[in-house]
Symmetry: C2
DNA sequence: TTGAAAGCGCTAACAA
DNA sequence: TTGTTAGCGCTTTCAA
């Protein structure tokens, strides 16, 4: 399988040589500009050491020939590509937009490019090995689920890398950590301002997810500070989907029509699901039900009632990750750092009676 | 700048040979397995021609040495990377998730990888030139705004490429085209089923956007088939944002409290904005206002009332784009194709009285 | 300031 | 079935 088991009607090779001109090489440029390839290379990489007139001539030749250096050849010798790879758990919803955007911006400021790839099917070390990752100058990985094997195989790549949001961090590896606790505590306390502790619930994400666990824990902690006891049913795990929120809502809200209920959702999607369920059950928000989400995605401001949510500083995360990565490339030996990304509650209509 | 202007406490080279071992080369593997580098290369690329026992021995050596082929060297000679680049107008909202997901899936099925990069600041031909794009085996570009220069500089790259959703297409270039018209017509007709022609509006995207224009035109056409005249104010352009929808709603809905109004939005975000405005003005949906969006993003099913929307087959688009690209890589000379991606209305609560 | 030449790590004839 | 060898297009000493 591969390049040519098919109807290759045309003559192989150049054929009629019309439009399909093969890319020009450094030797072509050198010849046209009447210099050596070394000089051409110099105007590309260290222009300050070549005579202005020569440089000009070379540049003209380059643009006349539409010369673009072969990145493989270049990389083979320079051992860098100036591209950073970002690995995400799967192709990102609305969620990661800002993170990518800011990562991209920062990278460009430093003359780097960013490419994104998903790791959906990156279950095994083998998969990582198979990835054409070794052309990257650095890797930024967002691993929200604990996967020691994956983490290990990534770390074994032994290249500049920053981990976003891993549970424990890996010795010697830079890291950006989402600080879920402050935001989650704020959310819980805010809910408790207007809802009895026994009527507050956390509709969480997957029990195995780092962030989901943190958020649930913070919520539980606050509740325990305010109440005698906290029912097990007050903290539930599911997944980060609207379906789960909806399901929870339909199952739990109907019986609570006459009570004011507070819901702290594991993320905005779950919150939206809960809100849908409420709407279907004729439960008013924020009248009978107060909802707070997590992430602070754009949708919070778009829907009505606007959704209170714990804002996660995605732009800061993207920026920090890239900066860490670049600084490690520049200084491979420096000590590993962890940069905390603080979260904080943004109150909107959905939780203010 | 580079590898070693820093506190390199350890002896250069292997040092204590602990963790920082430099990557092993094909020659290392060959030596350990007692074969030539050619044989190592063969077990990697054409395993069927090497004796099973030898292959096994080589594979052991590879894994012992954690050998990973240098992709630059490999690319330099094979002239392929098996990676496809997807260029997007900017880092994608919720919108592109499915497209990427399906593109990724299909690419992997064929042994390719996909990387995504944004073209936000890709205004000029220069920018394209500067992109480290020539390591890609093919490019898939989603260009929703007319930008002849950008298109041209992309085409000038002269590599396997497919354009998604460009206005006219470029001779000789494969293309996937979103067929806005059928869906938009369905939406208009559906609205007209329960709303008077004079009470129907299109709150469109940017006037310069291909899709926005198509959608507006189809809407206008249907209206004109049903009504004597269509007011200019019935078709407005803005941008693809909830803000614009909200703004339009606040400005136009207040005065229409006593009429049943139909709104066909240029995309789902705009529709959400209109719905927010309606909610704020106390206008009920679908009672007094019927709304249809475009794109069929996940949010349609999450909010209440669920948003009727014209579904765009993003998965098909991603799949087709990758398939076109791969088939062109396999057969550079074949004729250019355009694959239409049909749209169709999905009716939900927001438009059914 | 410039050029000649030796690789970078791998693949692909061509031989054996 | 395997090995030898000549590059792929570029950068980078080392000389001039």
């Amino acid at each position: 399988m591969g390049k040519s088991q098919l109807i290759n009607g045309a003559t192989p090779g150049e054929g009629h040589g019309h439009d399909q001109h093969k890319p020009s090489l450094i030797t072509d440029v050198a010849r046209l500009a009447n210099v050596s390839t070394a000089t051409v290379s110099r105007v590309l990489n260290t222009p300050e050491v070549v005579a202005p007139a020569t440089a000009e001539r070379v540049r003209e030749a380059m643009s006349e020939l539409r010369y673009r250096p072969n990145i493989f050849a270049k990389g083979l010798v320079s051992r860098t590509s100036r591209v950073l790879g970002i690995i995400m758990p799967d192709f990102m919803g609305e969620f990661y937009t800002q993170l990518l955007q800011s990562a991209d911006t920062v990278a460009r400021e430093h003359g780097y490019h960013v490419v994104v790839t998903s790791d959906t099917r990156l279950g095994s070390a083998d998969a990582v090995q198979s990835l054409p990752l070794n052309f990257l100058d650095g890797i930024i990985a967002l691993l929200t689920f604990p996967d020691r094997k994956l983490t290990k195989s990534l770390v074994d790549l032994n290249m500049p890398m920053v981990l976003i949001d891993t549970e424990e961090g890996v010795p010697g590896i830079d890291r950006v950590r989402i600080e879920n606790e402050p935001g989650a505590r704020q959310a819980a306390m805010h809910l408790l301002d207007s809802v009895a502790p026994a009527d507050c619930f956390h509709v969480g994400g997957p029990a195995s997810n780092f962030d989901a666990k943190d958020r649930a824990k913070a919520f539980g902690d606050v509740l325990r500070e305010r109440a005698e006891s906290v029912g097990r049913h007050q903290i539930m795990f599911g997944d980060f989907s609207a379906d789960w929120g909806y399901e929870w809502g339909i199952a739990n809200l109907r019986a609570r029509r006459d009570t004011v209920t507070g819901v702290f959702a594991g993320n905005d999607e779950i919150a939206l699901g809960v809100m849908s369920a409420a709407s279907e059950l004729g439960i008013s928000i924020p009248g009978q039900l107060r909802v707070v989400g997590f992430d602070g995605t754009r949708i919070c401001n778009i829907i009505r009632p606007a959704l209170s949510s714990v804002a996660v500083p995605f732009d800061l995360i993207g920026r920090s990750a890239v900066e860490l990565c670049l600084s490690r490339i520049a200084e491979p030996g420096r000590e590993a750092q962890t940069i905390p990304a603080e979260t904080h509650l943004v109150v909107r209509e959905s939780s203010t009676p």
